[in-house]
Homo-oligomer: 264 residues x 2
Amino acid sequence: MAGGSREPGRTVTSKVLSILEAFEKSRGALSLTGIAERTGLPLSTAHRLVNELTDWGLLSREPNGRYQLGIRLWELAQNTGRQLRDAARPFVQDLFSLTGETAHLAVRAGHEVLYIDRVYGSRRVPRAGRVGGRLPMHATAVGKVILAFEEDWVRDAYLNRQLERHTAHTHVDPKQLAAELTRIHEQGYATTLEEVRLGSCSIAVPVFHTGRIGASIGLVLPADQAATMTRHLPVLRGIAAQIERATARIPLETLLGSHAALTD
Amino acid sequence: MAGGSREPGRTVTSKVLSILEAFEKSRGALSLTGIAERTGLPLSTAHRLVNELTDWGLLSREPNGRYQLGIRLWELAQNTGRQLRDAARPFVQDLFSLTGETAHLAVRAGHEVLYIDRVYGSRRVPRAGRVGGRLPMHATAVGKVILAFEEDWVRDAYLNRQLERHTAHTHVDPKQLAAELTRIHEQGYATTLEEVRLGSCSIAVPVFHTGRIGASIGLVLPADQAATMTRHLPVLRGIAAQIERATARIPLETLLGSHAALTD
DNA sequence: AACTGGCTTCCGCTCAGTGGAAGAAGTCCG
DNA sequence: CGGACTTCTTCCACTGAGCGGAAGCCAGTT
């Protein structure tokens, strides 16, 4: 092995997965060389693996030669967490229909909220976390709700970390955030005002499962409606109750697979 | 190599992917042994690969020891075909809001229609193809529309195959189906009546992109409304036009990756 | 015609992957 | 309580799938 840029101990599986992950960071298509660079794989290795993935449909090749994630991957992944998504979907839909505002459903994944579903119309105003996307828990209403109702050690561990600031309004002081979480726990809902993005605010309530916090549903609206957004609380609570009822008989673990560990 | 059940020529990648695919056929969680059986992998090999996939979050392990597709897979896959889904989503939502019926968006994947998106409320009546699911083209309205507006060779190839029967009402005669497709092409929409499942009917219109058929949007309703479902045509056509406008500037290939070949 | 940049193919070396077998852990039954 | 059974986990010596440097190829570009 002349040059020896070989990096032993790296499994084939890890290489394949790093190829798929390469598409997360960079929107849009990647050239073979681009993939090789991002994954740190030698060009010929990347070439072989990429070709095989393309054969399986997990990657697709555009006419210009660049690669994209293939639709087969999406298809496979539809079987993931179907129980929760399928059970909750119609209610999130109702939440949107009843309020006319962007509605979403999120769960905790490690230290972040993961958006599982989202419903909005064509005249939607505020930009909100996209489905499959993650945001920090302390900057979103759904995240704060989850944090407020999580077990103590989860909350404590979270508060011990550096809290990222997104806008001038993000609450990053651990002491104050802890107090806010207590208040959220008492009042049963959380709000944000321009804490992720200027121009939007949000409100969320918890969805319980077998006594524990399982998920959270929320609304995102333009910041100028912040003062009146609590008017949606009755609907939010009603929908949350319906989702709880619909998912009660499904074991928590089969809802999403075991939740990602706090340290993921 | 004593017994020699070794099956040389099988790549690691193919083994990993066959594990993921194993979860497609069987709903719900699988035991390690179950995975080994379905994939034809020796137990210890399956064990090693499954463990590695679990570490990466592509599989998750339930407390009872069984495995499930992990949420990380779903997350990765959200980047697939985002362009079309994100662009079309609000309009499919509007289609539902305006009609109150289950609305969906589908594209062709090989010989089948693949449901890309679907919007429905909690009081939904008919069962319809699920997101990420496939159905044969000749039994669904969206499928017939796509077939009717596809290039000749695609349609001809399709008609030369054995047409699967789902109910007593499925149109399986190639001659008659060809005539129906011509009529659909002329009138600009397709309908079905209890051709996939008893009790439901559907109507769909084409969505064009750069002159070619790109997708189809449709509604599924209870069979007793079959007589009057054409009342939704104006809305369907309006929404289709909006989706066409919204996706016009996106190159077709980046919408979904190159469409799966007819023979996939 | 020579250069450039990205993709594809080739091929001998070698270590990651393999899988049978033995051990551990749990489950059921008499 | 023992022992028969099932399912999961670990071990380890062998070997061929994977590796990757290098050479070849094909468009564009100068």
